[in-house]
C-alpha cells in the first residue's frame, strides 16, 4: 500500500513548478478535467521494485508550450514539439522521483514517456489510480496522478 497522500503529491508538484519554472500551482477543483477538445500532453514515469506503479503529469498543450518556453528561455511560439515533450517528460521525471523518495523499500524509476493528443486516457496494465491531484496554473489545469499496480 502506498504511503503518499494527496497532500504530498500536491506539494511535490507545487515545489517543482515553482522552483524550476517559477510558476505557481494553486489547488483546483478535485473533479476538474481537460475537455475532450483540448490537446493535452502527459508525461509518465513508472516505478518498479518494492512498490510498483506510475506517476503522470498532464497539462494542456498550451501550458506545456509556456512551460517549455521558460525551460529553454524562449517563447511559446518558438519551442519545438521535441522540446515540449522533453519538458513535460522532465516534469514527470521530477514528480516521480520525488514520489519514489517517499516510498518504502527499494524502487527504480523508469525514463519518462510522453503522449500528446486529445481525448485519451493513460492506462497502466494492472494498475489503478490511487491519488489524483488537480492544480490551477494561471487559469490552466494541471493534473497529477499516482497509479499503483495491484497484486
Amino acid at each position: 500500500m502506498h504511503t503518499v497522500t494527496s497532500v504530498d503529491l500536491q506539494q511535490i508538484g507545487t515545489d517543482i513548478w515553482a522552483a524550476i519554472l517559477g510558476m505557481v500551482l494553486q489547488p483546483a477543483d478535485a473533479l476538474a478535467h481537460h475537455g475532450e477538445e483540448v490537446r493535452v500532453v502527459t508525461g509518465c514515469v513508472q516505478i518498479t521494485g518494492d512498490w510498483s506503479g506510475a506517476v503522470t503529469v498532464q497539462c494542456s498543450a498550451h501550458l506545456a508550450r509556456v512551460a517549455t518556453a521558460v525551460m529553454f528561455g524562449s517563447t511559446p511560439d518558438d519551442v519545438t514539439e521535441d522540446e515540449v515533450c522533453d519538458t513535460v517528460g522532465e516534469l514527470a521525471n521530477m514528480t516521480g522521483g520525488n514520489v519514489k523518495s517517499l516510498l518504502p523499500g527499494s524502487c527504480q524509476l523508469s525514463l519518462p514517456a510522453v503522449t500528446t493528443g486529445r481525448d485519451y486516457h493513460v492506462f497502466i496494465p494492472g494498475a489503478e489510480v490511487v491519488d489524483r491531484v488537480t492544480a490551477d496554473c494561471n487559469g490552466e489545469l494541471v493534473v497529477m496522478t499516482m497509479l499503483e499496480r495491484r497484486g
Binding site: D86, G97, L111
Partner: protein, 120 residues
C-alpha cells in the same frame, strides 16, 4: 574552469546551465553538455572538465555507471549528482563511488551553490 552538465533532458541541461551562470563561484566557466553517460565519458576524455554535474537516471549509461567508469579509468574529476532521485540509499551509493554531492531536483541556484561550496 570547465564544467560538464550531463542529463538526457535538454530542458534540464538548460536549467542547470542557467543556474550555474548566476553563480559567482563558477563565473566565467565554460559549460559543456552531454546527453547520457556514454557521451559524457567520451567528453571527459577529450575535454578534461574540472567538474561534472550529472543526472542519475539516463539511457545508454546512467550516472552511477558513468562515475564507476571514470573511477575504473583512473580519471580524477570532481563529480556530483543533480537528480530527482534522492533516497538515503542513493546518497550513500553516490558517496561510496566518490561523488562529492547530490543535489535533489527541484533545485535552486542556491542549493547548487551550497553543494559546490563544499566540493570545489
Amino acid at each position: 574552469m570547465k564544467i560538464l552538465v550531463v542529463d538526457d533532458s535538454k530542458a534540464m541541461r538548460a536549467i542547470v546551465k542557467r543556474a550555474l551562470s548566476t553563480l559567482d563561484r563558477v563565473a566565467g566557466a565554460q559549460i559543456l553538455e552531454a546527453a547520457d553517460g556514454r557521451e559524457a565519458f567520451g567528453t571527459v576524455q577529450s575535454e578534461r572538465p574540472d567538474l561534472i554535474l550529472s543526472d542519475w537516471n539516463m539511457p545508454e549509461m546512467n550516472g552511477i555507471e558513468l562515475l564507476q567508469a571514470l573511477n575504473d579509468a583512473g580519471t580524477s574529476v570532481t563529480f556530483g549528482f543533480v537528480t530527482s532521485e534522492s533516497t538515503p540509499e542513493m546518497h550513500e551509493l553516490a558517496r561510496a563511488h566518490g561523488a562529492k554531492f547530490l543535489v535533489s531536483k527541484p533545485f535552486t541556484p542556491e542549493s547548487i551553490d551550497q553543494a559546490l561550496a563544499k566540493a570545489i
